[in-house]
């Protein structure tokens, strides 16, 4: 049971790391789209006047997302370290208990009691810390959803602004489209992270 638990923790932590690096890629794409949009809006001049502040905003959102993900990556790494430690302690508990069974009648069998207690304690401390870190990570992940959600609203606004832009309509609409897609992808990835973490909490 305990062994399976650390196994599922490893899987969860690994999948979070994978999702996060995907989020990072998408955030970089958004910031590229923002730069692109800025160039188009500049060329469109007066016709895309309403579009210009939006491009800055998109860029800000991308930057925020990248920063948040960097921050979350540290949490994910910490979770990984905790999982490694917990796995070691769980393994030690299991093996020490085996020693206890095999050493029945051995003159110094009792001397293992103190180390066994200690390992059990360390194991609990690790696990408790893991649970705390997971709930903090869940909060941080909710934070990443905010810029992604805002990006979708902006994408909708961008479409409206794009409709005023005459011959630039298509290119600006394409920008709005790609921001919207990217935000949608980030949303999905973050949801996956959250459900990976929730699985651990359920396993509790």
């Amino acid at each position: 049971m305990q062994v399976n638990q650390t196994k599922s923790q490893f899987v969860a932590v690994a999948s979070i790391a994978a999702e996060l690096s995907a989020v990072m890629e998408v955030a970089k794409e958004i910031s590229l789209a923002a730069a692109n949009a800025k160039a188009i809006a500049f060329r469109a001049g007066e016709k895309a006047k309403g579009f210009q502040p939006i491009t800055d905003f998109i860029n800000e959102l991308a930057k925020d997302t990248i920063e948040l993900v960097n921050n979350i990556n540290e949490y994910a790494f910490h979770l990984y370290r905790l999982t490694v430690n917990e796995q070691r302690m769980t393994e030690a508990c299991r093996r020490f208990e085996k020693v206890g069974q095999l050493a029945v009648g051995a003159r110094y069998a009792d001397s293992l009691n103190a180390p066994l207690q200690q390992v059990r304690q360390r194991n609990q401390v690790c696990h408790r810390e893991f649970i705390i870190q997971v709930s903090e990570l869940l909060i941080k992940l909710a934070d990443v959803m905010h810029p992604a959600r805002a990006a979708r609203v902006i994408a909708a606004n961008s479409r409206i602004e794009a409709s005023q832009a005459g011959e630039y309509l298509q290119s600006l609409q394409a920008v709005a489209e790609s921001v919207d897609n990217a935000a949608q992808i980030i949303n999905d990835k973050v949801h996956k992270c959250r459900s990976a973490l929730t699985i651990i909490n359920v396993a509790e």
Binding site: A92, V99, L102, A106, Y108, L112, A114, P115, Q118, V119
Partner: protein, 242 residues
């Protein structure tokens, strides 16, 4: 785990091996323990699968707090992959192992245990009431490799040198040297990479007064069989895979 006392004086040498619970596919190993009045050294304490039977056996002789020293002849998993567990079990222990292997052995987990790096020329392990010599045996077979010599007990723990592969539950000592040779030949030819390293080791070891040659696999050599082994090994061509 079977325990065989191989020296009894002011302190003891005990060979531990032939564990009947050993999973079939892992290589059988010999572990050695040197027990003084208040300290205990474990030589090549073994793989992770062997940890529980090994510690259970040691607890017949010493409490965990008196297991003060571990020695790893080299970095192989059958020698020391149990390190991470000893690390949690022993409150006051040191690991004596090659300086070269430190960054590698720490992968097994070594936080509580103090890593005492052995330089290439060897050194000693001081157990208070007695002192053992760490003898270089580089390239036999690992690039950094050491053996333990006890000048009082006249025992040389020779790591993989002298190892033999045979059916489980074989006797602990070689009884018929000529018949034993075939169980060692391929192992030495294939695992030992260098004739030059082999010669250097033989020159060094011939100067030692040895009653028992104690390898990490198979049977120990006693009395005249020690010399027979050295002569046989000297004549053997090793490093045959290239």
């Amino acid at each position: 785990m079977r325990m065989t006392k191989i020296y009894e004086g002011a302190y003891q040498w005990i060979m531990l091996g032939r564990d009947e619970h050993k999973p079939e596919k892992i290589i059988d190993t010999n572990q050695y323990m040197v027990r003084t009045a208040n300290r205990c050294l474990l030589i090549d304490p073994g793989g992770i699968e062997l940890f529980a039977p090994m510690l259970a056996a040691v607890l017949h002789h010493a409490p965990v707090e008196e297991i003060t020293d571990l020695f790893a002849s080299h970095q192989d998993p059958d020698i020391i992959s149990s390190l991470g567990l000893w690390d949690q079990a022993l409150p006051n222990a040191k690991l004596h192992a090659s300086a070269l292997w430190e960054g590698f052995l720490r992968h097994f987990g070594c936080e509580t245990i103090e890593y005492v790096p052995i330089p290439d020329h060897g050194g000693v392990i001081n157990l208070g009431s007695t002192e053992l010599q760490i003898v270089p045996a580089h390239y036999l077979h690992a690039s950094a490799n050491f053996h333990i010599y006890d000048p009082h007990a006249k025992i040389l723990m020779s790591g993989d040198v002298g190892a033999a592969l045979e059916a489980p539950a074989m006797p602990v000592f070689v009884e018929n040297f000529d018949m034993h040779v075939e169980k060692m030949r391929y192992f030495h030819q294939r695992w030992m990479p260098s004739n030059q390293a082999k010669r250097a080791w033989i020159d060094r070891v011939r100067k030692l007064d040895i009653d028992i040659l104690a390898p990490q696999h198979g049977r120990m050599f006693k009395g005249d069989d020690v010399k027979r082994f050295l002569d046989w090994f000297e004549a053997l061509q090793v490093g045959i895979a290239v």
